[in-house]
Symmetry: none
Subunit: 207 residues, 4 copies
DNA sequence: CACTAATCGAGACGGTACGTCGAGTCTTTCA
DNA sequence: TGAAAGACTCGACGTACCGTCTCGATTAGTG
């Protein structure tokens, strides 16, 4: 989020409502216009706020959109459907549902694109989005271990590498399927991906 | 590429050199400036060409960059290293090498981002990039079948679905690892991904 | 008019029809668009001629329009209505009629405006328009002298100065009235101007 | 001048200095480049102002130049030299002096030329230039009447017609002489014109 | 009759300016 | 002193014409 000067006791305090209004307006504008046609002046107008106010709180378009988009992915939840396979399948479909929303598609890819040249932005994305959602993989594995579907981990660094791999494969495959290949992420495809993953992991564990 | 009125016998013909100069200038500008700061006026200047010439041939920034980026991926080749595992690993590392180049990173993600709101652009990407590189997966499987590493396919539609799945998983995972997670795509990681894939496929085939 | 390289005996001769078509198209375009929105490309299209053909014959917009406008004023004629007063009045009204046509208004003023910075153009206007119409004043005086309304001239240089003065006053006043003051040049006004002139000349002659 | 939304209390007020700088820059550019090569971008640069600021205040080239040129003619003054003849001669020579300046020649004729197709512009010229300078004729007659050189007027509408006629004749003749005939407006010529006018008026009054 | 050289149409070329738009900053007045 | 309003500078946009150029295809005269 944005920071503010620490010790400003005096003066008119910043409107708390403004922040929410601006982020909501940003998402609404993303839906209607997409990233490239979204203008900060327009966001300010929609939010009933002066452009100055907006610039006082965010450094620019990228930062604003990261914040507006990040919380979209917070609604992802591990369904706990009783089996690891069903858990994965559920998350995949949830993720696809979110990516079906135009503000999520446009916003996510736009900030990722910008981050290819802006390290600070990339770090912001890692914090706000990537690492935040990695919890799903960790939690899924924990549950599967509790159910006895997966063996308990032994090597912690090997374990972290596996989490990263799984996350990149799931998130990458879903995004690529949905946005680049432009094919539907439906139950059939989700099941295929799940099967591939589980079989791959099981075989690896068997080694 | 851009198309032109089909049978225009008369008039001064378009300069063939201009096309190449423009695409090269586009890639150079992408390296230096990145997508968002790249201007068509600047590209025209670098190419030693008038802005009008550029607009006569491409509809806009997106179309131009797709064409400029697409051929970057044409240098991908299946190494034929004797085993399916080595083939996959080789392609993954080649892909990562290309994505390490700034013009490829910025350009690819930028056009994908724009394509989330522009169906024509998405189709152009599918034609120029996605489907063109899917050949690698098909060829890899053919070779593996020839070697006996994979069984011959029986159901052709099932076969096409598998190609798509593999492609989305490999391309998606590499892109996500490189650009979103921002972790290195090195030999270790490539081997892990390859192992996951091969084990998954083998187990699926065993069913 | 335009000139051509003197000794070109061989080769395809220039189309005579093209010249007329171009001048007519120029006048038509002046009516519809006015000077500033008239483009040579459009004139060429209207004339069914390539831009190259047009540029081969005229140096630019100004030269073309001078030629196109000049002949509009050739239809001015001294009515010979039996008295000097009626002659003047007739010419004034004829002049006003021509100036009521949009191509004459726009074209004449546009080239005059351009000529304020282009001596060659000013000279061309003098030759093609101003001096050509000065004949009307000379002829009117000759007739009036024949009728005994004006005394025969004695000093030829004084005589030339008077012709110039009369011409500037008549042409200037009519143009100013019609185009700058934007008031109608009707019979009443024409009579007032004529009276002013004749009285002024008579009193001067009486000295 | 340009107008603005009437009661806008809030917001940053328009810079008063910018107006003057823009008009001065316009006149300077007219001197150097003339009407047709004058570009609004260049004017903005000279004035140290952004192009948008210029467009916010004037609708286009024509409107801007009318305003810039109009005040050039405000320096015209009736000399009050003791006789009507000397007054007229003085004004004629003053007018010629102004028309000798390139920005006045180019600017005046250019806007008049444009006004032949643009009624709003013509009206603007009438207000800003024509009617404003007609005061000179009115004042000259008033003084002459006070001196007894001219009889007091009886019919007011007849009187207005005479003012218009005199104005068209003087202004038209001077402009025509200076810009179309391209002959010098010197004392000799000024005296001839004055004599013609005064004799004509005197004879008319004698009727 | 073929040759030849300048013409013709068409339209792409390198330029220049257009008028608009958005970014981000600055300067007011109001609360 | 924060917030709204809106003018400010800056720079890119995509378009329109400019005047030039390169084409292939016509035309006369000339040889």
């Amino acid at each position: 989020m944005q920071s503010r000067s620490p010790a400003s006791r005096t003066g008119r305090p910043r409107s708390a409502a403004a922040d929410a209004a601006i982020l909501a307006a940003t998402r609404a504008a993303l839906v209607e216009l997409g990233w490239s046609k979204l203008t900060l002046g327009d966001v300010a107008t929609r939010a009933g706020v002066a452009k100055t106010t907006l610039y006082r709180r965010w450094a620019g378009k990228n930062e604003l959109v990261v914040d507006a988009v990040a919380e979209l992915f917070d609604e992802l939840e591990l369904p706990d459907s009783g089996s690891l396979a069903a858990d994965i399948e559920g998350v995949v479909l949830q993720f696809a549902t979110i990516l079906a929303r135009p503000e999520a598609r446009s916003g996510l890819m736009a900030v990722v694109a910008e981050s290819t040249r802006d390290d600070a932005l990339r770090e912001r994305i890692r914090e706000s989005i990537v690492n935040r959602q990695k919890r799903l993989v960790v939690e899924g594995r924990t549950r599967a271990q509790a159910r006895g579907e997966l063996p308990p981990e032994t090597d912690p660094s090997e374990s972290a590498r596996t989490v990263d791999l799984i996350f990149d494969v799931i998130a990458g495959a879903v995004v690529h399927r949905a946005l680049v290949s432009a094919e539907p992420v439906d139950a059939t495809w989700a099941w295929s991906l799940t099967a591939l993953l589980l079989n791959g992991l099981a075989a690896a564990a068997a080694v």
